[in-house]
């Protein structure tokens, strides 16, 4: 299914105007996140998260109002929805100064691409690896 | 009574501690060296004496290490914590800023933080020593009540910045921590 084309002046906020497009990661339509459903145990904490599709819709809106970098961030975020909380925090910590060797960062980039299809995030990690090498903030092998 | 003067002697490479009932005190590059007092004029000698007294009261032993490669409080404290047999250390900057750190915590976290150096008192330093020692023993002391003076920033921040710049100038890049022994001598009378 192709991504619908949005008009920021008409479709935003999506939660008001385009509920038809909004689903939880478990496939529930946003309109079904009601108090009754919560109390009946039909809503999980994992329902209160955003899907990659929705992130790309918001990226589209951002780009259409001229915010390309914000769109880029949201597209990277779309890739990251596939990664567990724990792994996200681990990769973040690995990107901090003097935390990883170049090989370790390359391995993360490969994992992002291969396991998660996260080409944009892999690109960010590879870029970081190169800059860290040049600026000498990679971990030394101790 | 003449003021006491603090010097650190008998430098040797700092080794990781083997006993779990110890607290390490990590001091910054210019502590009791280029500087001899905190931002409010409290002598470094008195500060160290109070901390040691607090640790001793809990029947825990103490070692002092000089950190020369950084003037960042979290780095000073965390480096010392990683050397400490109990994993607990106190970090001290020349101007008086203090924290109690633990080796398994993220560097920018802490067990207790005292960010407003102008508010530190001798009594507070003693309590910091005492609490650190209790953490070392595996106890859970009530945190030292947080000091908060909202006018500390307008009054002291720029001076603190200048003091920090001076301390940062004393950094020796790549220097390894050294263990030191505090020596208290009477100052020469005026």
């Amino acid at each position: 299914m192709t991504e619908p084309t949005l008009d920021p002046t008409v479709d935003y906020p999506l939660s008001l105007h385009r509920q038809d497009l909004l689903f939880t990661p478990n496939g529930k339509p946003i309109a079904e996140i009601t108090m009754a459903a919560v109390m009946a145990g039909e809503v999980a904490a994992s329902d209160l998260r955003i899907t990659p599709q929705t992130l790309r819709l918001q990226a589209q809106i951002a780009e259409k109002v001229g915010r390309n970098q914000l769109g880029g961030n949201l597209r990277r975020a779309a890739e990251m929805t596939a990664i567990s909380d724990e792994r996200v925090l681990q990769i973040y910590n690995a990107l901090r100064p003097n935390a990883s060797t170049k090989a370790e960062l390359e391995a993360i980039a490969e994992e992002l691409e291969g396991q998660y299809g996260a080409g944009l995030l892999a690109g960010l990690v590879r870029e970081a690896a190169d800059v860290y090498e040049r600026r000498e903030i990679l971990a030394t092998n101790e | 009574m003449a003021d006491r003067v603090l010097t650190f002697a008998d430098e040797k490479p700092a080794a990781p501690g083997s006993r779990t009932d110890e607290v390490l005190i990590g001091v910054s590059p210019a502590f009791a060296d280029f500087f001899s007092q905190t931002i409010t004029g409290m002598s470094h000698a008195d500060v160290i004496r109070q901390i040691l007294a607090g640790i001793e009261e809990q029947e825990v032993s103490a070692r002092v290490v000089r950190i020369r490669h950084s003037s960042d409080l979290a780095v000073v404290a965390h480096t010392a914590a990683k050397l400490s047999g109990s994993g607990i250390a106190i970090g001290l900057l020349s101007r008086g800023t203090t924290m109690i750190h633990q080796r398994d915590l993220p560097r920018l976290s802490s067990l207790e933080l005292f960010p407003q150096c102008p508010l530190m008192t001798l009594e507070t330093y003693r309590q910091v020593g005492s609490n650190a020692a209790q953490y070392a023993k595996g106890e859970s002391p009530e945190p030292v009540p947080t000091l908060n003076d909202q006018m500390a920033r307008p009054r002291w921040q720029a001076k603190a910045a200048l003091l920090h710049l001076k301390e940062t100038e004393q950094i020796v890049k790549g220097a390894k921590p050294v263990e030191v022994v505090p020596q208290f001598a009477q100052a020469l009378a005026n």
Binding site: P13 | S70, R153, R155
Partner: protein
């Protein structure tokens, strides 16, 4: 003409004038002022050591920026060159004289979009050059047009010197009623965070729902709380203007960009934080001026694709505040953030001066033109309870702030609220928190504690809690994986349906991502309002946002207003 009294020879000191003695005792003379020292960066914006603006593009890549060749870029330069600056337009925009760009900012007839078309191609040194041509009034004129969201809003700090969660819940409820769109908390003891963050979340949904909450902590811990839905957004994700200081802060623009995407991937709103003075305060300004380094932070934020920035010196305000033109530089940094199309939460959140006059003067360049958040932390408690070490404005300034709004017809996001309504909201928040704690088997909150908290001004009037028991409870919250959804269920189960519904609405926004757009908040009707559906259309007199209608009527109310109909009584 009085005769001169001969000085007796025995008095060794020079006689001081009585006027001097009075002036010496003025609060302003307790503030810290230092001489400029440009070599180490102790200068606001006027430094001979800042680079000259330049840019060179080859094959779609910036190969030189502000006098530095690509091979010599530090990681900030590289990130900015590769992600922040629009490569297609940069050479053309950089060729426009700085004064001309400044005139575009000031001139109401040049639209916001037209300005951004130019600013998106500017380097840090060029942006600095532009604002150096602007005086404070011109900076304010620029701010009026360039803020992203049309309607200004405000943010409060809700903290307790004792990290008392009950107090925080009550303060959040009152702050919500008073008009704050966002509320922020932090801790003296980090381990208390789960309980305090929960209290903030619950209290903020009492009265007026839709308020967004954050808890300022170390990066990874803050993300974890956000992921659980115990907070709604994050702000204290810091970026720094020199590579050395950034590394001391244990991050890089790349790690921060990754973290930014992480928040968005969970549907959580966030912004970065930076501010003039941080680099010199941390001992490594690399000889650059405060504002030059701050502009690098602004562009890192832009490059990371983060929607907004908290700046205006923030916790370092004592540093620009100590040097000449420091507060002008602070206003300029807010303007530049807005001018590159970022949301701006514009400081005023840190105690800046002993002088009431100086505190107001520092506030006006944001309050008068309006920003996305006039303050990024108005202390909703008296300053002694402010765990950010004091704010520029606190609870004791509420009536003054509301009066200044009314005097000048400027909207700082707040309104006066009657005591009865405040007490009711504080009470409701206390009862709700008590119920949730009981439901989750956390240490009990007594009715006596609630009574004390409802009527309290600050933590001095509270009944102290058993901190160690609370800390155990806080650990429980983390171990048992308590989430925002659990809070919704707890509130609904214990009879606080309206609060539960408000909280669910806020959490549900994560599914839509509407709050991820620039300058997003929720209205009193719990609908997303952002720079997308509330575009700043300021274009001169009679245009743009002006408080009017029902809002203006609301702003006219103060604690004591004499009735016109019957001058012997006050308006209710």
């Amino acid at each position: 003409m009085t005769a001169v009294t001969p000085q007796p020879a025995s008095i060794p000191e020079k006689r001081q004038s009585e006027r001097t003695r009075v002036l010496e005792e003025r609060p302003v003379n307790l503030d810290g002022f230092v001489q400029e020292w440009p070599e180490v960066g102790m200068v606001a914006m006027d430094s001979a050591f800042d680079p000259e603006p330049s840019v060179r593009v080859r094959d779609g890549v910036i190969v030189e920026m502000d006098g530095r060749a690509r091979a010599d870029f530090d990681f900030l330069d590289q990130f900015i060159a590769d992600h922040a600056i629009d490569v297609a337009s940069t050479e053309a925009s950089m060729a426009i004289p700085a004064g001309e760009i400044a005139a575009m900012l000031v001139d109401p007839r040049v639209t916001r979009d037209e300005v951004i078309a130019v600013t998106k191609g500017l380097t840090p040194a060029k942006l600095l050059e532009v604002v150096k041509t602007m005086n404070i009034v011109e900076i304010m004129m620029g701010m009026q047009k360039m803020r992203a969201r049309r309607t200004p809003a405000n943010q409060a700090h809700c903290t307790s010197a004792r990290d008392n969660p009950l107090q925080v819940a009550c303060e959040a409820a009152e702050a919500s009623l008073r008009g704050f769109s966002e509320v922020e908390t932090t801790l003296g003891v980090v381990r208390y965070a789960p309980l305090v963050a929960m209290a903030l979340q619950i209290g903020s949904q009492v009265g007026t729902g839709g308020r967004l909450t954050q808890c300022a902590l170390e990066e990874a811990t803050e993300l974890e709380l956000g992921m659980r839905g115990i907070t709604a957004y994050a702000e204290t994700i810091s970026v720094y203007g020199t590579e050395s200081v950034f590394v001391d802060g244990d991050d890089t623009p790349y790690s921060k960009a990754f973290l930014a995407a992480a928040y968005a991937s969970r549907g959580i709103k966030m912004r970065f934080t930076s501010g003039t003075g941080s680099e010199v305060q941390m001992g490594n300004a690399e000889g650059r001026s405060m504002l030059y380094l701050e502009i690098r932070c602004i562009l890192v934020t832009k490059g990371a694709g983060v929607q907004g920035l908290q700046n205006g010196s923030i916790s370092c305000i004592g540093v620009p505040g100590a040097v000449p033109a420091g507060i002008r530089a602070v206003a300029a940094e807010n303007l530049i953030a807005s001018a590159v199309d970022l949301e701006c939460a514009s400081g005023n959140d840190q105690s800046f001066s002993h002088s009431p006059m100086r505190r107001v003067a520092r506030l006006l360049p944001q309050l008068m033109p309006g920003t996305d958040f006039i303050t990024s932390g108005y202390s909703a408690t008296p300053n002694y309870d402010n765990m950010f070490a004091g704010s520029n404005v606190d609870a004791e300034d509420f009536d003054d702030f509301n009066t200044i709004q009314r005097d000048l017809q400027i909207d700082g996001g707040l309104q006066h609220v009657k005591e009865a309504d405040i007490l009711a909201a504080r009470h409701r928040a206390g009862k709700a928190l008590q119920a949730v704690f009981r439901y989750l088997e956390l240490p009990a909150i007594s009715d006596a504690e609630i009574e004390a908290a409802v009527y309290a001004h600050g933590s001095r009037e509270l009944i102290p809690r058993d901190v160690l028991e609370d800390l155990k409870g806080a650990q429980q919250v983390m171990d048992r994986n308590v989430t925002g959804l659990d809070l919704v269920k707890a509130l609904e189960s214990t009879g606080f349906s309206d609060i539960a519904e408000n909280l669910l609405t806020v959490l549900r926004q994560r599914v839509s991502g509407d709050l991820l757009q620039t300058s997003a908040i929720m209205t009193r009707e719990l609908q997303p309002l952002s720079a997308v559906n509330d575009r700043n259309d300021y274009a001169g007199p009679g245009t743009g946002y002006r408080p009017s209608g029902a809002r203006w009527e609301e702003m006219k109310r103060l604690r004591h207003v004499t009735s016109a109909e019957n001058p012997e009584v006050e308006v209710d």
